[in-house]
């Protein structure tokens, strides 16, 4: 049952155009539907859009580290979600132990207090610790398997299995929360709109700052140029006398730090608990599948698309009396298929 066809027939040409046309129509329908919804309930629409954007900001921070590591080393770090969650736990433990006295506990009445340092010291500490943990994984387990990317993926899967189990063992099944400084407001009001302060300032702000810094790092520093050169041609870089191993270690450290930093932001904006490692690994995967592996811009666009789609589909899948909101998960699926159908390597992916 051998199947052989001609390579480029006119029909194949049409075949490649068909998905684009279908997707164009589909995209148009979605935009029109959202426009209708936006005109019906302006405040809610803005709120839901902001939800999508702030969620996307968190996804971007996590996915940027993931795509950075992949871009340079071709390592798909399946333990990235574990690093994210572990970062949250490290910050939670640090906050409880060093700034304890109920400060780490969420309170509806706001009776407990957390100082500014009580938030930022655990944040910095956890970011650093996770960077070192990532560095350890790279040096101990991955360094001598360079180039065998499937084996490296399997190794990081094993690491994530062990991490997930140990985190349940040590921190239990209860969901915990990292406390933002008490002096910060819970929410801010702009006109008729009330929105979570932490989400819109710290999370969104961090994502923008990180995005800009990474961009500058890549484009305007020697380290960044070395990394970009490494992405294009590792052997040549090595031949030029650059210590490639040092560059790899630095990049892995940075990527892991971003996971840990994301974990602390997520642990404050949402929570820290079992299962989030898988969830954020999946989100990072989808973001980079959509955006293209190894592309920073792709990660930003992918995160934005995923965040908005998830946010809109959570509430705008009611069609009259027909409630499809529990099929919301399908929209992310359709998004991935749609992108892959047109661009198998993602929006900004390119063959190495």
């Amino acid at each position: 049952m051998s199947v052989a066809v001609g390579r480029t027939s006119p029909r194949a040409q049409l075949g490649t155009q068909a998905p684009r046309i279908i997707l164009g129509i589909l995209g148009l329908v979605v935009v029109v539907w959202l426009a209708i919804k936006a005109s019906q309930g302006g405040t809610t629409f803005i709120q839901v859009t902001l939800n999508g954007i702030t969620t996307a900001a968190l996804y971007f921070v996590v996915a940027a580290g993931f795509t950075l590591i992949f871009g340079l080393m071709r390592v798909v770090n399946m333990a990235h979600g574990s690093l994210y969650l572990f970062g949250g736990y490290v910050a939670y433990i640090a906050q409880t132990h060093w700034f304890g006295g109920g400060g780490s506990q969420f309170s509806l009445g706001g009776a407990s207090t957390t100082s500014i340092a009580g938030f930022f010291v655990p944040l910095a500490f956890a970011t650093l610790v996770i960077g070192l943990v990532g560095l350890g994984i790279q040096q101990l387990l991955l360094r001598w398997n360079q180039g065998q990317d499937l084996r490296q993926a399997l190794i990081t899967i094993a690491v994530s299995v062990i991490f997930a189990d140990q985190m349940v063992a040590h921190y239990g099944g209860i969901v915990q929360s990292i406390q933002q400084p008490t002096s910060w407001p819970n929410s801010i009001t702009i006109g008729a709109l009330r929105y979570g302060f932490f989400r819109i300032t710290v999370v969104l702000g961090s994502a923008i700052v990180i995005g800009v810094l990474l961009y500058l790092l890549f484009k305007h520093t020697r380290f960044g140029m070395t990394i970009r050169a490494g992405v294009d041609d590792r052997a040549m870089l090595s031949a030029l006398g650059v210590n490639v191993q040092l560059v790899f270690a630095g990049a892995f450290f940075l990527g892991a730090m971003l996971a840990g930093f994301g974990g602390v932001l997520g642990g404050t904006m949402i929570s820290v608990g079992p299962g989030l490692d898988t969830q954020f690994l999946l989100d990072a995967l989808i973001v980079v599948i959509i955006g293209g592996m190894g592309s920073l811009v792709g990660a930003a666009i992918g995160a934005l698309l995923l965040g908005l789609v998830q946010s809109y589909s959570a509430i705008y899948l009611h069609f009259g009396s027909l409630d499809l909101s529990n099929y919301g998960v399908m929209t992310s699926f359709i998004l991935v298929i749609a992108v892959l159908a047109v661009r198998p390597l993602g929006l900004f992916g390119r063959a190495a």
């Binding site: 969420f106 309170s107 819970n186």
Partner: protein, 481 residues
């Protein structure tokens, strides 16, 4: 190429290590399979993990809990609950400071107690089935106490039908179907289901807090629906109306679902589970500001002592439905807590915060296993240790066993071998949980709202309609302060 040549040398070094592993497996395998084979032949199964030389008339008990998955942290809380009863009332002794170290000695109605093993499931039906089979078929347990969670309970109740000569006493699992629909003759549950644990809250909210329309936020799965069903049945029975919001299970970012909640409502009932509750409340406050006084109520998760450490609901006057009291001073509960303290005084990191069994006394994970052991002791004593004829006498006695002195209020069984319990309404605040009302005689059927033929609780079930419930307006004020 170079790597190819170098690798085998390194890999040869593995062989001894793997050989050791293989030997370990082989050794365990031969010892265990030989015991079970010979045991199966002789009819007196001995356990591979329990005591080596149990007397012939020993009562073999297996305790089934979760050691993995989201509830894995409560493994020792469950085991400790059951064993603390045997230690306090049957003369058993703890082997170590951690409950899973085991117990020695102790008799029930002349039968020496032999704990043959601890079931270690992971919150899925498949794992519970596998573990209960290990306990009964491999380790020869005659009585199983457990399991922990809802789906597991249904699986074990179904399994119990294939083992009519054995006895199954539920641990903490609270799915409604387990007893209402499966109705296995040798499966007994001395604790309430998820709906019973919410009983009275709706009535209280309507009559005392003056709610007329409520928002019910529930996890979109069995326990969320069941637990919300208890509130909805009560609240609608009085004439209230509800708006239901059901975020998918596993949601962490609730912001978009919070956008769905109407701006105007009298009160909000949260049937969001342990994992999502913190996320939900936190994001609600971010999006809408703090809850106004007396506008928040919730299911059992709002006040579980281990969860309360993470979630405070101070100053908002939040109320929860619960089957236990954290603040109790009643003699029955005091005796129970003293028994836990005596059996396992040491603080251990094998238990969730606060790290002592007595500190987890009001957790359903501890007390329900304790009550299960109590029911077993009482029923077996009543029939003078008669285990003959497929434990027929024990089954009959268990079905009739009432525990009027249970730690948190009397328990009796209905015709489906499901507990009729006392439920409580408690005020949750930053300083703890304060019990304010008790709801006696809560039945699983909610006065006919639920029956074996009605639809199981779901997104739209039960429908919101006026009806009469046995405990409407019969809540009694209590105060332990």
């Amino acid at each position: 190429m170079e790597r190819l040549r170098r690798l085998p040398r390194g890999r040869l070094a593995v062989i001894p290590a793997v050989a050791l592993c293989a030997l370990w497996i082989a050794a365990c395998g031969s010892s265990s399979s030989s015991t079970t084979k010979s045991a199966a032949a002789s009819g007196t199964t001995t356990s591979s993990s329990g005591s080596k030389s149990a007397p012939a008339n020993a009562l073999k008990i297996g305790i089934l809990s979760d050691c993995q998955g989201d509830f894995g942290a409560w493994y020792n809380s469950d085991i400790g609950g059951a064993q603390a009863y045997f230690i306090a009332h049957n003369g058993a002794k703890a082997k170590g400071p951690v409950p899973s170290d085991g117990i020695t000695g102790g008799t029930i109605a002349g039968h020496p107690i032999d704990i043959v093993g601890y079931g270690c499931a992971n919150d899925t039906a498949a794992s519970a089935l596998s573990e209960v089979r290990r306990l009964t078929e491999q380790d020869g347990a005659q009585v199983v106490i457990g399991p922990l969670s809802g789906d597991e309970g249904i699986a074990v109740a179904n399994y119990s039908k294939t083992q009519p000569g054995k006895t199954f006493i539920n641990g903490t699992s609270g799915a409604q179907d387990t007893t209402l629909k499966v109705r296995s003759p040798n499966f007994f549950r001395y604790n309430g289901d998820g709906a019973q644990w919410s009983a009275g809250v709706g009535d209280y909210a309507y009559k005392k807090l003056g709610w007329r329309n409520a928002v019910v936020v529930m996890d979109d799965y069995a326990f969320g629906w069941t637990s919300a069903a208890g509130f909805i049945a009560d609240f609608c029975a009085d004439g209230g109306t509800v708006t239901r919001v059901y975020p998918p299970l596993g949601t962490t970012d609730y912001s978009s679902y919070i956008s769905q909640i109407p701006q105007k409502y009298d009160g909000l009932f949260s049937a969001v589970g342990g994992a999502g509750l913190l996320d939900f409340l936190k994001q609600y406050v971010q999006a809408r500001g703090n809850f106004k006084k007396n506008t928040l109520a919730g299911n059992i998760f709002l006040g579980d002592p281990a969860t309360i450490a993470a979630v405070h609901a101070s100053d908002a006057g939040a109320v929860e439905g619960t089957s236990t009291n954290e603040d109790t001073t009643s003699p029955n509960a005091s005796a129970y807590i003293a028994a836990l303290k005596k059996a396992y005084p040491a603080k251990t990191n094998s238990l969730p915060a606060p790290g002592t069994l007595a500190g987890l006394a009001s957790s359903v994970f501890t007390v329900n296993y304790y009550v299960a052991a109590w029911a077993l002791d009482k029923a077996l004593t009543a029939v003078h240790g008669d285990l003959s004829n497929g434990q027929a006498a024990l089954h009959a006695a268990l079905a009739k066993t009432a525990l009027p002195d249970a730690p948190y209020g009397p328990v009796t069984l209905d015709e489906n071998r499901q507990a009729i319990i006392t439920n409580y309404i408690a005020q949750v605040s930053g300083t703890g949980v304060r019990t304010i009302y008790k709801v006696p005689g809560v039945t699983q059927t909610f006065g006919g709202t639920f029956s074996p033929t009605t639809p199981s609780p779901g997104r739209g079930q039960p429908v919101c309609q006026k009806r009469s419930l046995p405990w409407q307006g019969k809540e009694q004020a209590v105060s332990f302060h």
